[in-house]
C-alpha cells in the first residue's frame, strides 16, 4: 500500500500510522505517552506557516508536534 509522510498530508486529511522512524528517543516516548503509535489514526488539523508545527488530532485529543517530527511518521490514507 502506498505510504506518505504525515507532514505531507493536507489539513483535514487522515492517515493511519504504519511506521515511526529515527525520531529522538524522548519525542518518541512522549508520543507513546499520548498513545500515538503504529496503528493510530491521525488527522491533520492545521499546519503552521514557514515550516512551523503541525496540529494533529488523535483519539479526540489535539496535539502540536514539530514539522520535522511529522516528517518521520509514515502513514497510509484512511
Amino acid at each position: 500500500m502506498q505510504t506518505y509522510l504525515l507532514a505531507n498530508l493536507q489539513a483535514g486529511q487522515k492517515g493511519k500510522i504504519v511506521d515511526i522512524k529515527q525520531m529522538s528517543m524522548e519525542t518518541h516516548r512522549r508520543l507513546l505517552d499520548l498513545d500515538i503509535l503504529e496503528g493510530s489514526v491521525v488527522k491533520i488539523v492545521r499546519k503552521f506557516p514557514f515550516g512551523g508545527p503541525v496540529e494533529i488530532e488523535v483519539n479526540g485529543q489535539h496535539i502540536g508536534i514539530r514539522r520535522q517530527d511529522a516528517e518521520k511518521i509514515e502513514v497510509t490514507f484512511v
Binding site: S24, E26, T27, R29, R30, L31, L32, D33, L34, D35, L37, E38, V45, R46, K47, F48, P49, F50, G51, G52, P53, E55, N59, G60, Q61, H62, I63, G64, I65, R66, D69
Partner: protein, 666 residues
Amino acid sequence: MNIALAGNPNTGKTSLFNILTDSYEYVGNWAGVTVEKKMGVLKNNLGTLVDLPGIYSLNPLSKDEGVATNYLLNEDVSIILNIVDASQLKRNLYLTLQLLEYGNPLLICLNMVDVAESLGLQINHEKLAKKLACPVIPIVARTGEGCENLINEIPDLANKKTTPFRVNYGDILEEAIEKLIDLLPSEMDLPKRWLAIQFFEGNTPVRHTLAKYIDGKELDTLYKETEAKLASKAKSLPQYIHLRRGQWIEQIIQDCVIQTKQVEKTITERIDQVVANKYLGIPIFLALMYFTFKLTFEWVGTPLSDLLGEWIEGPVSEGVTSLLQALGASKFMQDLIVDGIIAGVGGVIVFVPQIFMLFLLISFIEDSGYMARITVVMDKLMEHVGLNGKAFIPMIIGFGCNVPGIMAARTIEQPKERLLTIILTPLMSCSARLTVYALFVSTFFKKNQAIIILSLYVLGIVVALILAKIFSTTIARHEESIFVVELPPYRTPQWRSLLRSTWEKGKGFVRKAGTFILAGSVLIWLLGYMGPGGFGVKMEQSFLALIGGFIGSLLTPLGFGTWQAGASLITGFLAKEVVVSTMNIIYAVQDEAALQGILPQFFTPLQAYSFMAFILLYTPCLATVAVIKKETASAKWTWFSVLYAFFVAYLISFIIFQGGKLLGFH
C-alpha cells in the same frame, strides 16, 4: 497518613487539591501548571494531601515529572488518589494501570464527567470499579461535584490491604519477568513484579535500582533477548508493553463506556480556526497583548490608581500628620513616617490597581486554554533562536512575576533549553517594573502610554530572543529537542477562580509593600537623612547622595547620570518597585502626582525612556536571583545571569540615548 494526588497533566489535580484541602493553589488550563509538590491538610483532618506535577507514566522525562515519580516511589504514601480525565479515558488508564501494578491502595477520581457527557461519552463507573478492583468516584473538580463522596471513601480505603494488580503480558514477557524476579534478593521494599515490568519498559531510574543487585551485563542480555523474541510483535519492548496494556484497556473501555452521540465540530475547534489561524495567530497574540496594556494602563488601571494616589496624598498623609502632631511625636518621627514610610510605601501601593488588572488578564489567559496555543504559534520563531515554543509559558508568567516564571521552565524536557529559558526569563518585564513605567509614561508620554509600555515589553522579548540565539550557538549548544504539546479544549474561566488567582498572585505584591518596601523606605530615608556632616543634613549632602553619585557618574553616557537615579537603581536590586519608593523619598513627595510634577526637571523624555529600558534589563531582583540559583543549582549560571543582564542593560540604554540624540530626540 500521606495521600498523594497523581494523574496525567492538566486533568485537574490542583483543582481537586484546593477543594479537598480548602486551600488555594495555582490552577490553569495547560499541561504543566504544577511543577513542585504541594502539601495541604485534608478535610476532616484525614491526613496530609500531596499535590504532584502531572505524569503520563512512572518513567520521568522532565524535571517536574521526576518530582512526581520520586515522591510516589520513595515516600511513605498510604493512598494514591489517581485523577483520571473521563473525556480521555484510554490515555489516562495507562498510568492507572502502572499504579495498580505498583500496588498502593488506589482511589480513582473520574474527573470531568461533565465534559465527557458533552462529548457523548457515558461511563459506567461501577463496572469500571469492578474491573479495576478499586473504588471509582465520578467528580467535577472545577465545581466540587462529587468530592464529598470522595472524602467519605478515604477512611475505608486506608485500612484495606491490597495486592498488586496483574495484567498478563503474554508468555514470552511473563517468562522474562519471572526470570528477573528470581534474580532479585527476597527482601526488597519495592514490588518486584512492578520493578521488572518497569525495567522492560525502559525506566532508567528503575534500571539503576536493579543494577545494585544484578550485574549490568546480565540485565542488558536479558533485555535484548526478550526484545529479540518479541521482534515479530512490536518494534521495541516499551512499545510491546504499551500495546499489551492498550489491548487490555481497550477491552475495559468496550465494557464500561457507551458513545451516545458523535459531536461534529466543538467550540474549541471554532475558536482555534481564528486564534490559531496559520497567518493570524501571531498578529492576534500581539493584539491581545496590546489590548491587555490598554486595559491596564489607559482604560481601567490608571484611572483607579490616580484616585488611590489622591487619597493617599490628601486624607491619609494629612490625617497621619495631624495625628502625629496631636500625639506630640518628635519632628524626626514625623519626618520618618510621613516622608519616609508613607512616601515610600504609598508610592508603590498606588500601583495596586494596575498590577491587579494585569494579573486578572494573565489569569484569564491561563485559565482559558490559550496558553498552549501560544506555544504552538510561537514554536517556529523560538526554534530559530535555539529555544522551544514551550519557553513562552515561563515568559508570559514572567510578565506577572519572574519567580514563578522561572519555576515554570521545569516542564521543558531538554536541559539546555531549560537553562536558557531560566536565564532569559528575567528579561520579561514583571509587574514590579511596571510601577516604574507607569510613573514615567504618565509623566513623559501622556498621550501614548500603552504603546510606550508595549514597546518596553517587546524590547524585553526581542533582547531575550537575540541573546537566546547567541547563547544557544555558543555557551549552551544542544541538538535534539522535544516539542509535543497537548492543546486542551477551551473553557470559560469561572469568575470565582479568576478573582482567586488574581488575588493569590497580587497579594505577594501587597505583602512586599509591607515588608521589603517598608524596610527599604526606612533605610533609604535614613541614608538620606544622615551624611558625613551628621544628622538632618540636606539630602544633597547625605550618604545616599554620595553613594548614588558614584553610580550616577558611571551612568552619564546613558543619559541619567544623577545621584538620584544612581541611588534608586541600587535599591531596585531589593525589589524593583523600590525604585519608585526611593524616588518619592529623594524628591520628597508623597505620591505619583507630585512626583510627576518634579521629574521633568531631572529627566528629558529620551532620558526617561533610556532609564526605563535600563530598569527593564538590568540585574534581576533579589528573589529572582535566589530562584535562578535554586533552579539551575549552579553558582556559575547565577553569576552569569546577574552580570550579563547588567552589561546588556548598559549597552541597550547607551544605544537608545546616544542613538536618540543623533536622531534629534531629546
